[in-house]
Symmetry: C3
């Protein structure tokens, strides 16, 4: 392998993420704001521009799944994710779901219904565990170390 | 890249799906009926012919998981999926589960128990949300646009 | 393809599993005991040595997900899996979770809280379904055929 150091690997990954984000925007029609962080293993089922809109400074963790077509009716129902959210690893967002600003979706959750701003949801089906939370960039709770965010990609 | 147009990409994918379906039948021993549509990212854990049987005109969406071996007892417990079902994205079907005809399994569901015909199940563990539904080919509710089915592959 | 027989394929896979286990230990810092069996499709989010500790004779099935960083606080919370456990296909283990010895985590479960020794947990969030179970190597219930364990990789 030509990857001799971890640094080279990191540069390679960052390039990959950049290319992938460009592809998500241009081909898949995902609309996303400034400063989002989207895992390479996140999967989007989008058909046209605007089906999935993601706000600023939101983090979408690995192995997440976004489905926009409601099979039962055949309609596309757009997904909206607010700003400063954290969508946890392995979670699934179903068609038509709107997630408000500053929300945390726990790992492995399956979200069927809209999530009000500033709440934590978990479970399948996902239910509100806590409301009125206060988060910063990438859905980090106050006091969480900003520097560690790179780990989540 | 040699893929100059979306059409070429589509032809390539259709060939891939064809080859994969042949492999599922011959190697994995999945038995499936006419007109099924199985996502390339669906995963089957089958050991011998007939462990997994899928009826006609059923759609199996992406990132689904079919497990036939009950670890606790070591037995293989076959999975049966009826005709005109829709198995939603990211759902998991556990060993020994029978799903009746014309059922809809919601995205992200984990199905532990048998599902009676013509019902919608969701959640983990999956529970019946609605019964007596009426669906057509690929588990589409009446009125859903047939032409959009290609999206689900 | 050069893979002319199933035997060659098996040798190839065993080598792959060996290399991958070495990589998990040396690079990802996963600590595991004797006789563990870890699926190639299991995914670990570990940052340093000891974040994830797996006991002897435990089986980790395919498409499982282990997350060690609690996003909300930014802390790493280690995951501990006991000996002779079975972590079922498609399940997710969240940060800080300790699973006792001789436990069975059902397929597709999402584990948020600690699991007492000798119990079966299922669901999202995972709840104890049964306690005081008696299992052998790789979390097999007494009487289960030892020879079939290779199927789970």
């Amino acid at each position: 392998m030509a990857l001799r150091s971890l640094n080279q690997l990191r540069t390679f990954r960052n390039t990959l993420i950049l290319l992938r984000n460009r592809w998500l925007t241009s081909r898949m029609g995902i609309v996303f704001g400034q400063g989002v962080s989207i895992s390479l293993s996140a999967r989007f089922r989008s058909n046209q521009r605007g089906d999935i809109v993601v706000g600023d400074d939101t983090l979408i963790a690995f192995k997440t799944l976004f489905l926009t077509r409601d099979h039962r009716s055949g309609d596309v129902k757009p997904i909206r994710i607010g700003s400063r959210c954290f969508i946890g690893g392995g979670s699934t967002i179903l068609p038509g779901v709107s997630i408000g600003d500053e929300c945390i979706v726990g790992g492995g959750s399956v979200v069927f219904t809209d999530v009000p701003a500033r709440s934590i949801v978990v479970g399948n089906p996902a239910r509100v565990l806590r409301g009125d939370i206060e988060v910063g960039r990438l859905g980090r709770l106050k006091g969480a170390d900003e520097n560690t965010r790179v780990m989540y990609r």
